[in-house]
């Protein structure tokens, strides 16, 4: 029976325990549960561990493979380090929600069938919404509702697709497919909504920066990367994903360049990085899928690291906006250094994790002879350095002197950042340590003199472009409109217009109905009211008189 228990259940139980315990017991749960989960993840053998019959379906709650274990491992490491980062500052319900959210992500990794996948998928949607709400502000509440609506919509579309596949093929198995009919398109769209693919990318940059400084660290890791593993399992080699990925890559850069909110810059760069992975899944070769998996692994670490450094800044200063920040390197040296390591990693600088993982994706494009894709990804790598590699640390920690002299990170936040910084460099210096856990054998050497030189040139000249064009990149206290304008402004405006248009005729009809009702009532009152003809009491005498008249009439008629 234990082979049917997904490692996700450990995190789910931990979520409950975090809510029920206090003090040292809760801290113990926060640190022990992810470690036990990690152990359980590595006990899952390859293949389906067991099946259960539910209604008429064969449910496979646990199915193992190198890919599934890799993603589950990084999710468990993430919840462990996120727990370390947050356990002294976050509220208990945020931590509890984070564990349940992570349970959803691990559950999806090991789901052997579409029904299990869907259940854990919705678990993620539910508890990630709670984390957005934990931001505690009015803006967070509203963003959380928009986030929930978007994910419930994605869930419904995914469910429609799953139902279709089950009805038409009779199988709930997770196996590679292509978007060739309505059912598979629905599944693909449902997953892509979670990946923040166009046109519905706006939910991510809308919701994540509204969460608490600790909440955004958890949010950055799970939803989009779970979508990536779902794409790898279900749609490897789906050509449309190449175009979708390239769009996401460019969208992330352009919006991040326009953005003023520090955490929103990072949110856009999630879309950008997931774009690299989606594009790799679209290429679909073993090298590309290895690249997508490795890049997701490295990305979770450096993106969480970046959100941690931004989180510390928000926690210490209470400010999000680049226009209000700057010069923090003086009193926050550790946060600055960790932020820079994260920024260099996301920019795939040599000796950092991004360099050794993104290179696999570029190599996959080269191997398939996709010159346009290769050059666009290379340009995007330069753009990543521009928007995340330099822009984020520059505007937050350097730039002008904001006058603020906040303290550096509390010890637990500092420890989490240092741990992830070390991981970024270890994966960058010893890529084989990660390569050996990838789903397919890797025969690739990231470090040749030519490749290192190429990337150094590319990135350093991008840096030059940043500083040369700095006056054009000056931050303004603005936001950039996105597709969410349609449901935040256009739809409410249309609704208001319709209400206005029909309000007048409706009011006239209402008045008419009211008049008719009143007229009817007063007529009834006239006849049946206390003074009414039909309600009057008649004296006995009048009755006798009428009887006498009737009898007289009768006599007259009788004689006639």
């Amino acid at each position: 029976m234990t082979e049917l228990a997904s490692p996700a259940l450990i995190l789910l139980a931990a979520a409950l325990l975090v809510a029920l315990t206090r003090g040292h017991w809760r801290n113990a749960v926060i640190f022990v549960a992810p470690l036990v989960t990690l152990w359980a993840i590595w006990q899952v053998p390859d293949g389906v561990a067991g099946t259960v019959r539910f209604l008429d379906y064969m449910i496979e709650p646990v199915e193992g493979s190198a890919l599934r274990r890799l993603f589950a491992t990084i999710f468990a490491i993430m919840v462990l380090t996120g727990g370390l980062f947050a356990f002294r500052q976050a509220r208990w319900y945020e931590l509890s929600a984070a564990f349940a959210y992570a349970a959803g992500a691990v559950g999806v990794c090991f789901a052997g069938d579409l029904i299990t996948l869907f259940l854990f998928w919705e678990l993620m949607a539910l508890f990630s919404t709670v984390i957005v709400w934990c931001g505690g502000t009015r803006a967070a509440r509203k963003a959380g509702i928009r986030y929930a609506i978007m994910h419930l919509l994605g869930g419904v579309i995914l469910k429609v697709g799953i139902e279709g596949v089950v009805v038409h093929t009779g199988s709930v198995d997770i196996r590679p497919m292509l978007a060739t009919n309505f059912d598979t398109w629905m599944i693909l769209i449902g997953i892509l909504i979670n990946a923040a693919a166009p046109p519905l990318s706006a939910w991510l940059a809308d919701a994540y920066p509204e969460s608490s400084p600790t909440g955004s660290v958890f949010l950055s890791a799970f939803t989009t990367k779970t979508a990536v593993i779902a794409l790898i399992m279900l749609f490897p080699g789906e050509p449309v994903l190449i175009a979708v990925g390239l769009y996401m890559v460019m969208y992330g850069i352009i919006y991040a360049l326009l953005e003023n909110d520090a955490r929103r810059i990072l949110a856009y760069s999630i879309v950008n990085q997931v774009g690299f992975m989606v594009c790799a899944v679209g290429i679909g070769t073993q090298m590309a899928l290895n690249g997508a998996a490795a890049h997701a692994f490295a990305h979770i670490i450096y993106k969480a690291l970046l959100f941690m450094s931004a989180g510390v800044v928000v926690y210490r200063t209470g400010k999000n906006k680049c226009t209000e920040l700057g010069g923090l390197f003086r009193t926050m040296p550790l946060t600055t250094i960790c932020g820079i390591i994260g920024a260099l990693s996301i920019s795939s600088f040599p000796l950092t994790s991004g360099f050794t993982t993104k290179a696999l994706i570029s190599q996959a494009a080269v191997d398939q002879g996709l010159a346009a894709v290769y050059f666009l990804l290379t340009a995007a790598s330069a753009g990543v350095f521009l928007h995340a590699g330099i822009k984020f640390p520059w505007f937050v920690f350097f730039q002008k002197d904001s006058g603020m002299r906040p303290k550096d990170a509390p010890w637990n936040m500092a420890a989490a950042m240092v741990f992830f910084s070390v991981l970024c460099i270890v994966i960058g210096v010893f890529p084989e340590a990660l390569y050996r856990f990838l789903p397919y054998p890797v025969n690739y050497h990231a470090y040749t003199a030519g490749k290192v030189l190429f990337y150094l040139q590319l990135l350093l000249f991008s840096g030059l472009a940043f500083f040369v064009m700095l006056p054009w990149l000056k931050r303004t206290p603005t936001i950039s409109l996105d597709v969410d304008w349609i449901y935040r402004r256009l739809f409410p405006a249309i609704t208001a217009w319709i209400c206005d248009a029909v309000a007048d005729p409706l009011a006239r009809i209402g008045r008419r109905i009211q008049y008719m009702c009143e007229a009817t009532l007063s007529r009834i009152y006239r006849h049946h009211g206390p003074e009414g003809v039909l309600a009057r009491t008649w004296p006995t005498g009048s009755m006798v008189m009428w009887v006498a008249i009737l009898l007289a009439c009768y006599l007259v008629l009788y004689y006639v």
């Binding site: 390197f329 080269v366 753009g383 000249f461 030059l464 472009a465 409109l481």
Partner: protein
């Protein structure tokens, strides 16, 4: 509490900034000149050209900044745009 302290951090002194720029230019030049010693194996011919990566990086970034700037005219709104 958050009064600016006397700002004499070495990173903010004009002389240091000038020096950093000089070092940066030297490193940029070195990365290009190193191509004389180390061959960059281009996958699609042109990416092996002398100084290609540097030029490509600079120009793509310039293009992205320009596109962002142009789109900004259409898309940028005050940050209280959605506030009720």
């Amino acid at each position: 509490m958050n009064q600016p302290a006397r700002d004499d951090h070495w990173l903010t002194r004009p002389a240091s900034i000038q020096q950093i720029w000089r070092v940066f230019y030297a490193v940029l030049a070195l990365t290009v000149l190193a191509q004389l010693l180390t061959e960059i194996k281009g996958y699609f011919d042109i990416d092996g050209w002398f100084g290609f990566a540097g030029g490509f990086g600079f120009l793509s970034c310039a293009a992205m900044v320009l596109v962002a700037k142009a789109l900004g005219v259409l898309l940028k709104q005050p940050d209280n745009y959605y506030d009720d």
